[in-house]
Amino acid sequence: MALPTIFRRSLIAIALGVTVSGTAAAQERELLNSSYDIARELFAAINPEFQAWWQEEHGEEIAISQSHGGSSAQARAILQGLRADVVTFNQVTDVQVLADAGLVAEDWQDAFENNASPYYSTTAFLVRKGNPKGIESWDDLVKEDVQMVFPNPKTSGNGRYTYLAAWGFAENEFDGDEEQIEEFMRTFLANVAVFDTGGRGATTSFIEREIGDVLISFESEVNNIRKEYGSDDYEVIVPPVSILAEFPVAVVGENAERNGNSDLAQSYLEYLYTEETQRLLAGFNYRVHNEAVVEEFADQFPETELLEVDEVFGSWDEAMETHFEGGGLLDQLQRR
């Protein structure tokens, strides 16, 4: 019985937690990119391109190492001394933690274009063949016979986006009526079948264990899953309203300086904005900013209203404090 590759990969990923891989020769300069869990394949594709480009421009051979893990766990590792030169995360808050500790420049969001987020995504649904429960938007998810799978907002940034997107939808729907929003969210959370700790775990529950009617994850991820497991068995639904999920990048200034990699780190992140890389990113189902590429891939990304965390919730800090911290709204909504 051959295991599908995503499952096999996630198995290995889970077993090892964080893996550091790379090909480092003794003399070469080595850049360490600390990234989120599901970006393995993405950076495995980008890194050789950048290495070739750098070689051409500067005549220097460099090595790039990757470290992958949950984005908060990665930030924690850097706080505790992992000497990563750059971070490419899927959580603004996790970069902010590094900025608060002084490892990343305070104005990191202005250091690169588009809030230092070279690509973005949104939260979308993956449903089973033929969409038997007729799920098109967030209000279809609170129906009595619908069961959802998405990662635990307490342990996963991916899960937090899902929670915030649903909240944002409800806020529009009920015109900001707190009571109705909370009632909606309570039903929403009660329809969750399994709370896995991370995105790949949720995928396994939905695909391998056949739990639930809908998997909620990043649009990029659900598209990749569909490609991996057969386009005939699953359908991707992008709801008319969803949330903007930024994928922030930053140079870990202190580390890059100490490693003598400041120029390399800066170029590496700038390289993510080049047209070729943006095209590559779009190929991985991430939404990008480069206009030529956007046009080229227009069919692939349905238009949808993207809510911004800063607008709906004030700021990430506020969203974290009111919703996700111990005793916050999420805890209250799940209380019984």
Partner: protein, 284 residues
């Protein structure tokens, strides 16, 4: 002087080298055990007692204690019964494949627990072999409390087998035969002769299995479903706190697990000492 030397080296000295071996032992224990625990308490020091109390008595955390302790107790009882049976079979009978079965007993130690958890979840989910059979009958294992107990039983069974086995091995078959020849039935021979002999080992093994289950994370997390108040284990609560960069909170909950485990192990040790003394006292 000679008195001091005999105190230092103890009365059962055969080989020299007490000072060096004791020194290395203390250093090793300090580095491997005491230092991390000190670190844990260092993080606790950030909290006032009121804060500490609020964290460890929060509703969701308390619910997780219930789930964890309940499931660990069930797993420990199951392991006590089947672990004893397994040890008995391995010691008292010869059969083809005995060596293999013996080696298999260590598998839960050798296997990364996360792999065990994923495997169990695959088997017992409604799409899996076992789950497909059980679910139509109304038994749901994966993503319930039962699944948690199952994962705990899996990871901790070697503790019971491996503590009971050597004690049984030390007990010659002649003991059973003597009991029988004095008129004891099978049941009486087991209850009055064999069980008292292996009882301390069985209790220790079961206690270790229980304590191991309290701290297990990897194997359980994939089969638990992690629904708040229902199938969240205490180790997950610690993980959640760490995700929130709340080291002190994580340490606080961890300290509860640590205290409960230590208290239990200490209690078993004390009880065992008394039990053995009473057993020997009876002889004289």
């Amino acid at each position: 002087m000679s008195q001091l030397a005999s105190w230092r080296t103890g009365s059962t000295r055969v080989l020299p080298g007490f000072g060096l071996s004791m020194g290395i032992s203390v250093l090793f224990i300090s580095l491997v055990l005491l230092l991390p625990i000190t670190g844990l308490f260092g993080q606790l020091a950030e909290l006032s007692f009121a804060e500490y109390w609020a964290i460890i008595t929060e509703g969701r955390v308390v619910a997780s204690y219930m789930v964890t302790i309940g499931a660990a107790a069930v797993a420990a009882i199951i392991n006590a019964i089947f672990g004893l049976l397994l040890a008995w079979v391995l010691v008292r009978y010869d059969f083809p494949g005995k060596r293999l079965l013996d080696a298999l007993m260590d598998l839960p130690f050798a296997l990364p627990t996360a792999v065990a958890g994923i495997t169990l979840a695959t088997l017992y989910a409604s799409s899996g072999w076992m789950g497909g059979l059980l679910e139509p009958l109304g038994f749901q294992v994966a993503y319930t409390w039962v699944g948690i107990a199952l994962a705990m039983a899996f990871t901790s069974i070697p503790f019971v087998v491996r503590t009971v086995q050597p004690v049984l091995e030390d007990m010659p078959v002649e003991v059973d035969e003597a009991a029988m020849s004095l008129g004891a039935t099978d049941g009486v021979a087991f209850r009055r002769v064999i069980l008292p002999h292996i009882w301390p080992a069985l209790v220790t093994g079961t206690g270790l299995a229980f304590v191991r289950s309290l701290g297990e994370f990897g194997a359980i997390i994939f089969i638990a479903g992690n629904m708040p108040y229902e199938t969240e284990i205490t180790a997950l609560m610690i993980f959640v706190k760490l995700q929130e960069y709340d080291y002190a909170g994580a340490s606080a909950i961890a300290s509860v697990v640590l205290f409960v485990s230590l208290a239990l192990l200490l209690a078993i040790n004390i009880w065992q000492g008394r039990f053995v003394r009473r057993l020997h006292g009876g002889k004289g």
